[in-house]
Symmetry: C2
Subunit: 366 residues, 2 copies
C-alpha cells in the first residue's frame, strides 16, 4: 500500500485558483500582445527599485533576515505603528494561508462573498473549513449580508476586500468601521486592502491596532509593481500578529524582495506618479467601454470591470474572443457578476491594442 | 472575547527554528567579519545568474508562471525524468511544510534523527505530529535505528538528509537503497539531498521515480549559491508529486527566482568550479582544526563539523568566543553531537579570519 494522504488532503480537488497567462500562451502557442488579466502593474517598479535589485543581485547567496527587521521597521514608521503590529510574508496569498490555518479547523464556518478571491477559498478548503458565501449586492460586497452570515453561523473568520476584487468597487471608511464595530469580538476579520493605494483616501479607515479582531492585509504586488517578488504584509494587534510566528516559514522571504520592498516604500514619489497613471488608465478603459456601448463599473483598483450588458455566457464569449485576439483578460465567474469582463490597467500601447481589438471581439460574438 | 486560535496553533510555542545572523549582529551592534554559520555559499551564484537577475529585474511586476513550466522542464531534462515527477517550491523548507501537511495529522508519529533539521521538526509540530527521534550513531544518521522506529511506530513519514546536516557525514547510495528497499510501502521517506551536489557521486542513488514512497528534495540554496532566492524542488512518483498541487501556493514563486534557477542549472561549468572550491574549503577547515588540536569530521557538504574534543558546554563556549570575535558559526545541539561546532565553507578571507581567531577563542575558553 502506497503512502496515504490525510483524509482531508485526499478529499481536495486538484483545481488551481487561477490559470496563468503563460499556460494560455503555451496552449495557444502564441504570446499575448496585451497582458491585462492578472491585475499586475505594467508600469513596473520604480527605477530606484530596479536599481536596488540589480545592485544586490550578487547578494542572492545570503538567506534573508528571518525577522524582516528593516522592512518591518520601515513599514511601521510609514504606518505610524510599532514593528510588532506588522508581519511580512511571501505575498498576501501566503499570509492568507497562515491566517486561515490559525483560525480554521475541519468544519469551521468561514464567511466570504460569492465570487470573491479564489485563493482565499482555496486556503479555506485546504484546511477543511466550510465556506459560507454571501452574494454581492449591486456589484459591491454586501457588508450587511456578510455580518448577518457571521452571526448566523457564529463564524470565527470573515474575509472581504476593500476596494473589491473582482468588481473594483469600494466602501467608504465609515462603512468599514461600522462593520468592524458590529462584528462579534470573537470573529476575526481579514480586510484585504491589496488595492488600498489606488483607492480614494476616504475608503481606508485609519490604522487602528487596538482591534484584536482585525487583520488588514496589504501588498507590494499592485501599486508598487512587484507582483513577481512576492511581498505582502498584515497589520493588526500585537498578539494576533505574533501568532504568525508560530507557523510561518521563518526563512521564506527572498533576500532581494526585502531589498526591493524597502526601496519601493522609500520611493513614494514614484508611487504617486504610478497611481496617477493608474487612475488615468481606469478612465481610459471606461471610455473604451463606453465607446463600444458597454458600461464600466466605477473602480478604485488598478483594473476596471466592464458590464458586457448581457449574461454570463455572452461575457465569456467576449473574453474568449479577446484572448483569441491576443488580449489577456479575466472575468468574474459568480452569477450576476459573470456578465462582466475584468481589464487591468496596462501600458498605453496595451490599452491601444485593447481599444483596437474590443470592437472586433464584440462583432465576432454577435 | 478575542478571536481564538485553533487548539493546535494555540498550543505551539513561539520558538523559531534558527536565529538569523542579522539578529545577532543587531544584538551585538556589530557586523560579523566571517559569515560561516548558515551553510550559505559565499562563492555566490554564477556571474551568468547574477546577469540574468539584473537583466530581468524590470520584469518584477509580473507574477511568475504558476506552473513553473520552464524550470520543471529543465530540471526534468537534467535529471532524465518527466516534468510531472518534479515539483518546484519556495525553498525546501516550504516543500517540507507541504509534505508534512499531506501526511501528518494530530498525533501522527513522524520519525527523524535527534538533532537533525529543526525546520522539519517545526513543521511536524505545526501540524500536530508526534516526533519520534532516533539518536545519531558515530556521528551519522542511524539508518537501522530509523527503520526500526518506523516499524515500531508504524510511522507514515520518515525524514533524513544525505549528506547529513548538521554533521556533514553521508551514506553511500547502496546503503540508502537498502533503507528504501526495507521501508514499508506505506511509509513516505523524505530524503533531503540539499547537499547532494557537494557529495561524492557514489552517495546519491540513481533517480528512480517508480518508488511511490520516496520524495527526494534538492535545492538551489547550497551549491548553486541562491539561498536568498528561495528555490527547492522535490522528485518523486507522479501521483505523489501531483498531490502538492492540491495545497501549494500556486503563485508563490518569485519571478526572478525562476529565471535565476534556470540560469544556474544551465551553468554547470560554474557549478563544477564552485564545488571544487567548496571541497578545497572543507580541506582547509579540517587543516585549521587540526592545527588547533581539534578533529574535523569528514564532510560531503559545504560545511565542516569540528569536534571540540570535550562536552557540549565547552563547545558552546568555543562558539560564543568565536561569535564574540565576529565569526558567525553555529553548532549541533543534541547530546553527543553538541560537542561540535559547525563551520560553513566561506571565502578565503573569511577562512583566513577564522584561522586567525580560532586559537584566540580556544585560549579564551581554557
Amino acid at each position: 500500500m502506497e503512502p496515504q494522504l490525510t483524509p482531508l488532503i485526499d478529499s481536495l480537488p486538484s483545481t488551481v485558483p487561477f490559470v496563468g497567462p503563460e499556460a494560455l500562451e503555451r496552449k495557444r502557442n502564441r504570446p499575448f500582445r496585451a497582458r491585462l488579466g492578472a491585475n499586475e502593474n505594467g508600469f513596473g517598479p520604480a527605477p530606484s527599485v530596479i536599481a536596488a535589485i540589480q545592485e544586490s543581485a550578487a547578494e542572492a547567496w545570503k538567506y534573508a533576515d528571518p525577522e524582516n527587521f528593516d522592512l518591518k521597521r520601515a513599514l511601521a514608521a510609514h504606518l505610524g505603528i510599532a514593528p510588532t503590529n506588522v508581519i511580512v510574508g511571501e505575498g498576501v496569498d501566503t499570509l492568507l494561508g497562515l491566517a486561515v490555518r490559525q483560525y480554521v479547523q475541519e468544519g469551521t464556518p468561514v464567511v466570504t462573498s460569492l465570487g470573491a478571491y479564489p485563493t482565499f477559498n482555496f486556503h479555506v478548503a485546504g484546511f477543511g473549513g466550510r465556506l459560507v458565501t454571501v452574494p454581492y449586492r449591486d456589484d459591491r460586497e454586501d457588508l450587511e449580508g456578510l455580518l448577518a452570515a457571521v452571526k448566523r453561523e457564529q463564524a470565527p473568520l470573515v474575509y472581504f476586500s476593500n476596494p473589491d476584487n473582482p468588481m473594483g468597487t469600494w466602501w467608504e471608511a465609515a462603512e468599514i468601521e461600522r462593520f468592524i464595530d458590529a462584528l462579534p469580538a470573537s470573529t476575526m476579520l481579514i480586510l484585504d486592502e491589496a488595492y488600498g493605494e489606488t483607492a480614494p483616501g476616504s475608503a481606508l479607515p485609519p490604522v487602528d491596532i487596538s482591534r484584536s479582531n482585525v487583520l488588514r492585509m496589504r501588498t507590494f504586488s499592485k501599486a508598487y509593481g512587484l507582483a513577481g517578488m512576492r511581498c505582502g504584509y498584515a497589520i493588526g494587534a500585537e498578539k494576533q500578529i505574533g501568532a504568525f510566528d508560530k507557523i510561518r516559514n521563518h526563512f521564506g522571504m527572498n533576500k532581494l524582495t526585502q531589498i526591493a520592498a524597502l526601496a519601493a516604500l522609500k520611493d513614494q514619489a514614484y508611487l504617486k506618479h504610478v497611481i496617477a497613471r493608474i487612475i488615468a488608465g481606469r478612465e481610459r478603459i471606461a471610455q473604451i467601454a463606453a465607446g463600444n456601448g458597454l458600461q464600466a463599473i466605477p473602480s478604485a483598483t488598478n483594473f476596471v470591470t466592464i458590464d458586457c450588458g448581457r449574461d454570463g455566457p455572452y461575457a465569456l464569449a467576449v473574453l474568449n474572443a479577446l484572448i483569441d485576439r491576443d488580449v489577456f483578460v479575466r472575468k468574474p465567474m459568480a452569477p450576476v457578476l459573470d456578465r462582466c469582463i475584468r481589464v487591468s490597467v496596462g501600458l498605453d500601447d496595451e490599452l491601444d491594442y485593447f481599444e483596437q481589438q474590443l470592437p472586433q471581439a464584440l462583432a465576432a460574438v454577435k
